[in-house]
């Protein structure tokens, strides 16, 4: 590329910052630049072009009034002066659109939002390809840098004792969920339709009546319907079209900004995909599949492309596959299996389709998720084994905090399941909540600010173990209102707090988080992505500074965790500890779930 001489001139009485930025960009790319002062006549600019033997001229014009005539005249002057064939002339400014530039006879027009790179490309005679710099080309494995070394050896020892007990207990146990997971795997892997049907018949026998009637009589549950084949083929065209024009934004401003996940689950997999594609375009790094709550209380999964009129999108192999196929190759995808009666099968389907992450937590799923502790413990061990087999890291979410369980108890449960995961060859990710939980509402830790207590959680976990941390879910939960500006701001500030604390991932809500009277919209998702990006930009490498309370509360939390774990060890049984409320009591607001109670079977 040859070195160009570029004259930059404002056709305004005042200076244009845009020209200064472009000047800097051009100089960084090795070009010579001359920036004319403002308030020169057109003839003077023409003379400067001649005197300086400029190859390229960039004119800026900010004012819209009479712009067409003034700029048209400038081009005519350049032409009459014999410059037009050897000098390239571009025009930029708030009032400029490409159509206007064409109308005025310029070689290019740069409107609002033009990047310096675009102007440099024009100078260098290159076709401008919209900046894909920094756009993620590969997925980030947020577990990659962690060795899971425990700094708190006492806690590690307690966890090992508890995990030994769990593994010993489940060793001779099974459930219909575990059997279904194996059958599902056979259905997916089988190439023979008759063999698939045989497996399906066996599968149906292990399901609740509502699912059984689907397999045996083709009946759909109420408020669900199959998607038609034209809808399915339209979807594939839609996704293809969207992918061809995808130029995703980047949310992160520095390397230390966490990856950002959004949660989807509108009920309809197609609307989910439409939302996911919009979020990808606005820079979301990952997406989390939300299934309907009834799915967790029903034994067995349906099949086919099925839509649903309530929150949460139904897990079927086909639904998940169509979502997976619509994702950009760099988008992280999580399918949750943290509660309910189909945990192992969820992980199998997700793993077979190629999900990147899953979510498993026995303590949360049984204390706040409605699943029987014993049942979920047996299922979760099988689910974690599948997660390890399919190399899917899983987060251990602590949403029981939202029921009122204090953080230290929830963290004790999270650490137990994480240690269990490590023992089974999995890669757990700690998921503390960044929320305005009942615990702090009652005890006042967030009376002054939302920073300290959240910071305390991260300090505490970092003191205990070197493990990836992904703040959930969504961050800022219960701080958001129905006002979208307030809501987006809360999300963005929590995102920057998380970043400031050096966490690896965050899940963010839409600005509709606090709105409950209808489905959330694509626009509300963009609100918070945009706000998060702006906040990352604002802080860069600068940090928020918590008060001394953060350290103090972190120590208290760590002591609390240790005491809880000691009580669980003393109790002798993890499952019984869950029933007894050691990891979250009825007084706290946690109730052991009943779905699947007494359904654990002893292996034959």
């Amino acid at each position: 590329m040859s070195r160009k001489k570029v004259l930059l001139a404002p056709l305004d009485p005042v200076h244009d910052i845009g020209l200064k930025m472009i000047k800097r960009g051009l100089e960084q790319n090795g070009h010579d630049t001359i920036l004319m002062p403002p308030d020169h006549t057109q003839e003077e600019i023409i003379k400067a072009i001649i005197d300086n033997k400029a190859d390229v001229v960039l004119i800026s014009r900010t004012l819209g009034y009479g712009v067409a005539e003034i700029l048209g005249k400038f081009i005519d002057l350049a032409e009459a002066a014999g410059l037009r064939d050897r000098v390239k002339i571009g025009i930029g400014g708030m009032a400029i659109r490409p159509e206007l530039a064409a109308e005025l006879g310029f070689d290019a027009g740069f409107g609002p939002g033009t990047t310096v790179e675009e102007a440099v490309a024009f100078v260098e005679d290159r076709e401008y390809i919209p900046a894909e710099t920094g756009v993620k080309q590969e997925k980030k494995d947020i577990t990659a840098d962690y060795k899971y070394d425990f700094n708190n050896k006492r806690i590690e020892k307690l966890l090992d004792t508890i995990v030994d007990g769990i593994l010993d207990y489940v060793s001779d146990k099974t459930t219909t969920a575990i059997m279904r997971a194996e059958l599902r795997r056979q259905i997916i892997e089988s190439t023979s339709e008759s063999e698939k049907d045989k497996f399906r018949r066996e599968y149906a026998k292990l399901c609740d009546d509502v699912v059984k009637s689907f397999y045996e009589a083709g009946k759909y549950r109420e408020k669900t319907r199959p998607l038609s084949s034209d809808e399915v083929s339209a979807l594939s065209k839609y996704v293809g079209d969207v992918n061809s024009r995808m130029r995703p934004m980047k949310l992160q401003h520095t390397d230390k900004n966490p990856v950002v996940f959004i949660q989807y689950g509108t009920g309809c997999p197609f609307m989910d995909i439409a939302h996911i594609k919009s979020c990808e375009a606005w820079g979301a790094d990952g997406v989390i599949h939300f299934d309907p709550s009834w799915g967790a209380r029903t034994e067995g999964f349906l099949e086919g492309y099925i839509t649903h009129e309530e929150d949460g999108s139904i897990i079927t192999y086909e639904n998940l596959k169509s979502i997976k196929e619509s994702l950009a190759p760099y988008t992280l995808w999580q399918v949750r299996a943290h509660r309910g009666l189909n945990t192992p099968e969820t992980v199998v389907i997700a793993g077979k389709i190629g999900a990147d992450l899953t979510k498993i937590n026995i303590a949360y799923g049984s204390l706040s998720g409605g699943t029987d502790p014993e049942r979920l413990t047996v299922d979760a061990v099988a689910a974690i084994k599948y997660a390890a087999e399919f190399s899917m890291p899983f987060d251990v979410v602590t949403n029981e905090e939202l029921s009122g369980v204090p953080a230290y108890k929830a963290f004790a449960g999270m650490l137990i399941v994480s240690k269990l995961g490590l023992r089974l060859g999995g890669k757990p990710i700690l998921q503390p909540l960044f929320c305005y939980s009942p615990e702090v509402m009652i005890n006042g830790q967030m009376e002054d600010n939302y920073v300290d207590f959240n910071a305390a959680k991260i300090y505490c976990l970092r003191n205990i173990v070197n493990a990836p941390i992904w703040c959930g879910a969504p961050i800022g939960f219960l701080t958001q209102t129905e006002d979208r500006v307030q809501s987006s701001l809360m999300t963005a500030l929590h995102a920057s707090l998380a970043s400031s604390l050096g966490v690896d991932g965050i899940s963010i809500a839409s600005s509709d988080e606090a709105f409950s009277k209808g489905p959330i919209t694509a626009a509300s998702r963009i609100d918070t992505l945009r706000a998060t990006q702006a906040s990352f930009r604002f802080f860069g490498h600068a940090n928020m500074e918590p008060t001394e309370n953060a350290k103090k509360w972190a120590e208290e939390m760590e002591e609390g965790i240790e005491k809880v774990l000691e009580s669980v060890v003393k109790n002798g049984s993890f499952i019984d500890a869950l029933y007894q409320g050691l990891l979250g009591s009825r007084e706290d607001g946690a109730y052991p779930g009943r779905a699947g109670r007494n359904s654990v079977l002893t292996k034959a």
Binding site: R225, D230, E231, A234, L235, K237, Y238, D241, T266, G267, C268, F270, M271, A274, H275, S278, T307, H308, E309, T481, E482, D483, R484, D512, F515, K517, G518, P519, T521, A522, A523
Partner: protein, 77 residues
Amino acid sequence: MSDILEKVMDAVDLETYLVCKDEEEAEKFTLELMEKLGFKDTTIVFIQHQGPGARIRARGYIYKPGDRYSWLFDQSN
């Protein structure tokens, strides 16, 4: 294309400031406004009344999850 509203992915949000005396009136006006604009499936997302009037955000759903979305089928996309 028969109707430009078919290009809306899910809903149209209308944000404005209404001059009114209290939140109840704001709600009434908001619903009236949305009806006047022709929205059929309206929800109020946000209302905050202070002194002179209310900041409002009303939502007219065009498609809800599970509907047949015209934009999905528009070949000219």
